[in-house]
Structure formats: C-alpha cells, structure tokens
Point group: C2
Chain length 285, copies 2
C-alpha cells in the first residue's frame, strides 16, 4: 500500500484499528520532522520489526521553553514525506497544533528528578512537554513498539521511566546515534550551522570521547574526567559549553565515582544553535 | 466463566488480551473496595454494556494526603469479591501496593486548575494521585469503557479532562449517585459513622438540595445561594463544613452568576469522618 499522510486523530485511529484487529505489529517513530539519516535509522529498525510503521511529524510547542527556538526549528514536511515514502513507511501522522492541543492542557505528565540535570536543568518544562506529547502519541497510535534515538539520552530515560511508571503497554526500542564522518551527531538543528560553525561542531563529541577514554583507562573520578572534557570545549573558539555531566544511565543523576557504566552527556551553543550529544562510558572490569 | 481474582498485572493483561483479540468490549470499574450499592450500580451498568467486566479493588496510597485517613480507610476484600461474583463481574483486579508502585514514581499525572477548588483545595496532591492511578489502570486494563460515580463530581471532571487532554482511548461513563432513603449519598466512609453521626449525616444533601431549589426558583446570586446552604450545615450540631461551592460542571471553577447549569458541591466532617456530595443545579429557562 502507498504511504498515507494523515492529519486527523480519528482517521489515524480508524486506520490503525484495522491493522490492530488483523493482529499486525504497529511501530511508532515519533519525530519533530526535518528528517535526517538518524531518523531513517529509527524507521529502518521499525520497518524490520513491525508490520505497520507510523512516523509522526509534529513540532511540539509544549516542549520548547523559548519561542524563538520554536519559531526557528526547521520544518520540511514535503521532503519528510518523500523520505518516509522511500523508507517504506505506511503512515505519516502530521497533525496541526490545534489537532493535538485543541484547548490548553490541564492534565500533563509531570517528570520528577530524572529531569533535574542535563537538559532538564536549563530547559524548564521541556521534559514535561516531551513526556506529555509522547504519552498523547502513545494513546493515539497505541503502538506495540516505539523507537527513540540514543542521541537524546535523557529523553530516552524519561520515556522509559514514563512507560514503567504509568504501565504504558509499549516496548521502547533505543536506536544508536548516527554520526557524520567527523563524529558530529546527526540532528535537525545541524542544518542551522554556518560553514564555520559546522567545522567546530564536532568538538562536543571529541570531548565526550575524551571522557569515555579516560574512564575506560581507569579514571573513576567523575569530577576530574568531567573537567578534562569541559576544558577541551572551553579551548575552542566560538563554542560555549552549557553543560557536561557524568550521570547514571537510568536516573540521570550525577555520579561522583565511576564504578559502573555511566553516560557522559553535554550541550554546547555554537552561535545561536544548541547541540547535544552523549556517549556511554564503561570503566575497566 | 466463574469470577477470577487477579493480583498480578501481567496475568490481568494476558487474560484481557484474549478477550480483546476476540473483539469483546471491556468495561472497567475502578474502586477502592469496601463496595456498596453505589459501586454495584456502576457494575450493573458495565455488565449491561460490556462483554468483559473488570472491577479493580485498590486503596491507592498516592491519593491520600493523610496517613491516618489511609490507615482508617475501610477494607473488606472477601466481602467485595463475593459482591462482585453475585453481580456477574468477570475479573477482579486486586493488586498489592508494591505491584502498582514497585518503585516511587518519577512520572505522574499533574492536574491543573480543575483541582484548585473543592476537594483539591483541602487535599493537596489528591487529584494527582487519583489521575495517576486511574491512568495506570487504563494502561493496564485498556478498557473500552470505564465507570465512575457522579458522587465524586470533581474526580469525574478530572478523569474526563485527563482522557481528553492525553487522548486516552476510553469512554468515560458517569453513573448517578445512589442514596439512602433519607438522602445520604452512599460512601464507603459511611460505615465509620456512629449512630449519632449517621442521624445527622444527611444534612449535607439537605443543604445542597436547598441550593438546587433556590437556583431552580431563579436566584442567580451564587454567593447568596452558597451562604444559605452553608447556614443549614452551620446550624447542625456535630457537623463541620469544610467547603460548599457553586462551580461550573466542566472546569470546576467557582461561579458568580448562575446563568447555566452548575454543580453545588460540599464536604463536611462528622467526627473524624469526611463526607462529600454534590447536586446539579439548573436555573429556570
């Protein structure tokens, strides 16, 4: 069947009910559009594992703490639909803001301490917005499986916690970060980088790899590892460090002594563009 | 099939999956146990409308703001199961606290201004607890229909809002309050009333009927109607008024001028027992 683009919730539900009644496996790939190879790796995984693949394209205003960031977020619906068609997607769900938020919400998903650090510290309300829209998408599409990129490590941890805490009947499938040859993690925001910005952008991954290497070599002092990595970014012209933290992979809480696998995660500003990335760091056995 | 009592979430899901795959309609009646005729009217309605009727019995600690109230809440599992069996219930879901809350929740359902008045004002966190556990039960049982008593008017409004805001695929069915011959609304808490308390308990409904009558007769001044009704309770020995408010039925916000149907809702303390009730009040056309 050819790709169908749906903007109305009832239409999506009717269509998915047919598949569900036929005992098909439904996979959901929630995105904010501006699709790149990273998203396509989520889609490919969903395509391999599910009978029906749904990609949602929705720039969710609830998760933006700054209106200028929301306004500047890249949008490319036609190109996104073409990419989905090529990737064998069955359904694209591209609702309007008023379809998702016909009235201001009074009930939302509150996220606790798992949102206290990293992006949650500097973007108040961001993870409430993420958890709420993802919960809505889960209720609308009722997928068996849902696919999230590991690039957004804290988002993935929040969604896993949401599913566990509220007993949502969906399997969360994490998918590895896709990178450019120079290491830069793919992100829709990368297309906002000037050529000069783009050249310096891989510094975040460079710093995180440094942390990973030090931890692999036996340095268990998280503060020192963190400082060494931060220094790499601090030395680079045109890049401002927002945060670089060593946290545990489940609760996203800062770690003092690295004695089990941790996540090194960072955010930098390059001009007016904010980029995030993370790596898993495993201490020697 | 005989009634089955289930305490494990996976077992409930497996059992309901069979029914769901057979395209049966699943009805959920969420309760805190200590069942009475009010609950049984919910069950009867579910029995008439659904193929599979599930009653949950769970005294939810998350919605109690006072540990003494939680400890004193009546529990009668064996009697509840017998009542369910007589009422033709298919499944009783009676989980332990650790089955529902294996770890402290980090993601919960936050309820906004709809919880600002009435019970929400005096019981901080109560509706967060209600909305969160109901959301969990909806995700666990995935019912087509769920049944709630109109006696808990604000709870019903919160659940309706939860379902609308988060797109939960369930139909909420409100069921009329069941009353004793003298007007007292049935409640599990009534069994904690002494004979003297019991004699005075109908005063809340008496006051609410007074408000309904004045509004039906054309008094549109909510403050005056409210005061008249509150005076009826204030004159009665042994009864303390917690609140009596005139609110709109959807948002549960106080109304100044009654020019459309409103809800008059009240809470009283009789000894150490707290009782609530409400009536819909319709102004003359």
């Amino acid at each position: 069947m050819p790709l169908e683009v749906v903007d109305a919730i009832p239409r999506l539900r009717d269509r998915l009910k047919i598949d569900r009644d036929a005992a098909q496996t439904i996979g959901l790939v929630p995105t904010m559009g501006a699709l790149h190879e990273g998203h396509l790796s989520l889609v490919a995984r969903a395509r391999a594992e599910c009978t029906t693949v749904v990609v949602s394209l929705f720039v969710n205003p609830l998760q933006f703490d700054r209106s200028d960031d929301l306004a500047a977020y890249p949008r490319s619906l036609d190109a996104d639909v073409r990419l989905c068609a090529s990737a064998g997607v069955d359904l694209v769900f591209a609702p309007t803001v008023s379809e998702m938020y016909p009235t201001p919400l009074d009930c939302t998903v509150d996220v606790g301490r798992i949102a206290d650090h990293l992006c949650g510290r500097t973007r108040p309300g961001h993870f409430r917005g993420v958890a709420t829209v993802v919960m809505k998408l889960f209720q609308i599409a009722q997928p068996d499986r849902a696919y999230f990129g590991e690039k957004d490590a804290q988002q993935l941890a929040v969604i896993r916690r949401l599913v566990a805490d509220l007993n949502v009947p969906v399997t969360i499938v994490p998918v590895a970060t896709v990178r450019e040859p120079d290491g830069l993690a793919l992100s829709s925001r990368n297309r906002r980088l000037s050529p000069d910005d783009r050249r310096v952008a891989p510094v975040l991954y460079e710093a995180l790899r440094d942390a990973r290497q030090r931890i692999a070599a036996g340095d268990s002092d998280a503060a020192r590892v963190r400082q060494m990595a931060a220094d790499i970014i601090g030395q680079r012209q045109g890049v401002t460090l927002e945060y670089l933290e060593i946290v545990d992979p489940d609760e996203m809480q800062p770690v003092q002594v690295v004695n089990r696998p941790v996540v090194a995660a960072g955010a930098v500003w390059i001009g007016s563009t904010r980029l995030i990335d993370n790596v898993v760091c495993v201490p020697p056995a």
